[in-house]
């Protein structure tokens, strides 16, 4: 059986967690249908062969471009897929991954399935499941071209979690015309909202930016939590757009999403309705968010937040 190529996302010399999840998905398929799992880093990285092998890779190919070039990375992936005879290319559906998905498909004359939430091999080949219409429906699709490219939504797949060390091989990098020349406004400390396991998200119900320390304190009490925001809050200038969750912001699927003072407009739900557990805190018992929440608390967020933070800290200390 042909091999699977997983294109890793590297930032600051590290492989992003969502790429390890894509390796896990590839491993599952390779175990079912045969073939190897090749991981490709299109830019310079000192790969952790234990971690990548454990997540699912058999071999790690390193093409050491100095900076990310979107077209260069795609050209490298297309060439490597051809040389290695891979018939399936998988990526994490991050902002970079979504962009590469269509480009690699163009180079391989392939169809593509972006932002998949499930992936299954059956007698006829591969079946990809993906949300459409902002999550208001899902589609199952088959790619009919000989080669296929798919991006996988973060947090829907797991790294293989095995004990295995991958081997390493260096391959040449292709030059691109577009180049990343600078990274600005790097977020330090907290993970990005699109990758976090837990998100604490605030809306207009928090009253103003002066109340955000209450939300930040809650996030601090939850290790690995990111801060999110509704569009109302971003439009008002209380929070940066990088935190916005929803149709015109980021799509997230954390294990726990805590929506505080967020009404639950359809465009907000579009970005977070696939979260595993949703907690809503809202003073209006009729707010639409409660229809989607696993657990709801009705009341004033400004009173509830400090209590929740305090209780979490006490639980951790105890």
């Amino acid at each position: 059986m042909a091999d699977i190529l997983v294109v890793l996302e590297v930032r600051d010399g590290k492989v992003r967690p969502a790429s390890l999840q894509a390796l896990g998905a590839a491993r599952g398929l390779a175990d079912a249908r045969g073939g190897r799992v090749l991981a490709l880093a299109t830019e310079a990285v000192e790969p952790d062969l234990e971690a990548l092998g454990g997540a699912g890779a058999d071999e790690v190919l390193v093409a050491g471009a100095e900076a990310h070039s979107p077209d260069g990375a795609a050209a490298t992936a297309v060439r490597v897929a051809g040389e290695e005879g891979a018939d399936l290319v998988l990526l994490a559906a991050t902002i970079r991954g979504r962009d590469l998905c269509g480009r690699i498909a163009a180079g391989l004359e392939a169809g593509f399935a972006p932002d998949c939430t499930a992936l299954e091999a059956d007698g006829e080949g591969l079946l990809f499941e993906r949300p459409v219409y902002a999550g208001k429906a899902r589609m199952q699709v088959r790619i009919r071209t000989p080669k296929a490219v798919a991006s996988l939504r973060p947090n829907f797949f797991q790294p293989a979690g095995r004990s295995h060390s991958a081997t390493r091989r260096d391959v040449p990098a292709e030059e691109g015309k577009a180049r990343v020349v600078e990274m600005k406004g790097r977020q330090e400390g907290r993970p990005d909202v699109a990758e976090a396991r837990i998100i604490v998200s605030g809306g207009r119900g928090l009253g103003g930016p002066e109340n955000w320390p209450l939300l930040e304190a809650l996030a601090d009490a939850l290790p690995g939590a990111a801060l999110g925001a509704s569009r109302a809050v971003v439009d008002a200038g209380w929070r940066p757009h990088s935190e916005q969750v929803g149709q015109t912001g980021k799509t997230v699927s954390p294990e726990l999403y805590i929506a505080v003072g967020i009404s639950g407009a359809i465009q907000h739900l579009a970005g977070m309705s696939t979260s595993k557990v949703i907690v809503a805190i809202n003073k209006d018992a009729e707010a639409p968010i409660f229809q989607h929440a696993t657990y709801g608390v009705v009341g004033d967020a400004l009173e509830i937040l400090p209590k929740l933070t305090e209780a979490l800290k006490a639980a951790q200390a105890g």
């Binding site: 930032r11 269509g102 163009a106 726990l256 557990v277 696993t294 657990y295 509830i304």
Partner: protein, 251 residues
């Protein structure tokens, strides 16, 4: 400055989604269609760049059914100079790769400095047509752009990625896909709407050929287990915490 912009007719984001009788597509009954919101940012940016350059033209392309003339007229009313409908009844259901092939075929051989796209069409949410068309045409593409500058034959753009803001440079000709934040799209003025009626809208029949991706089924999202109100006010906190730890096991 010659600018091309690709636009799609899509269901409004407030549409209630019902699966059609074929079990594979949206039931169009009662659905209101609009110009894809991200394509509004693309059109606006095209118009601004042309205005800033003081010369040039903006031409809009759409691969769609006959109805998509309406959205192209909207783009002309906003200020574009000409529009081309690549007409096929198969367009609405076409996958991203098939759409990109049709668009690339139509754009190949045209002279242009820049092609603008929306970052995503809010129907199948594929985020892929722009980068794929650019690759097929052999030009660079900068995706999901929130700030754009064109000077000295070069594009400098900013895009928000996980954990920061990337600054990307590319030479012209280049493609760009527009994200919210790039600009505030203008409304078509009455004068614009009148003028649009006289602007050229060319209709070209196209045959997309065999689909690259086949839809097997469409269904409602997986049901969420029913939620519950844990309680009211700060007194509900201990019970909420217990449920998160013991029932949901997320803490």
């Amino acid at each position: 400055m010659e600018i091309l912009v690709c636009v799609k007719r899509v269901p409004a984001t407030t549409t209630r989604v019902t699966v059609g009788p074929d079990g594979k597509s949206l039931d169009p009954t009662g659905v209101e269609y609009v110009l894809n919101p991200y394509d509004e940012f693309a059109v606006e940016e095209a118009l601004r760049l042309k205005e800033a350059a003081g010369e040039g033209s903006v031409t809009a392309f759409s691969f769609g059914g006959a109805e998509a003339q309406k959205e192209l007229r909207t783009v002309l009313a906003m200020g574009a100079d000409a529009a081309v409908l690549l007409q096929s009844e198969a367009a609405a259901a076409a996958d991203g790769a098939t759409t990109a092939r049709v668009l690339a075929e139509a754009l190949r051989g045209r002279s242009f400095d820049l092609i603008l796209f929306g970052k995503q069409a809010v129907d199948l949410d594929q985020h892929g047509v722009g980068p794929m068309v650019a690759t097929l045409l052999g030009i660079p593409c900068i995706s999901e752009v929130v700030a754009l500058e064109v000077a000295d034959g070069k594009v400098t753009a900013e895009r928000e990625v996980e954990g920061g803001r990337e600054v990307v440079e590319a030479p012209l000709p280049c493609a760009v896909t527009a994200q919210k934040g790039l600009n505030e799209p203008r409304y078509a003025s009455l004068k614009g709407i009148m003028a649009a009626k006289k602007k050229p809208l060319e209709v070209v029949e196209v045959d997309p050929g065999e689909a690259a991706v086949e839809v097997v089924s469409m269904s409602p999202p997986p049901p969420r287990p029913p939620g519950r109100i844990v309680g009211e006010g700060p007194d509900a906190v201990p019970e909420l915490l217990r449920l998160l730890q013991e029932e949901a096991k997320v803490l």
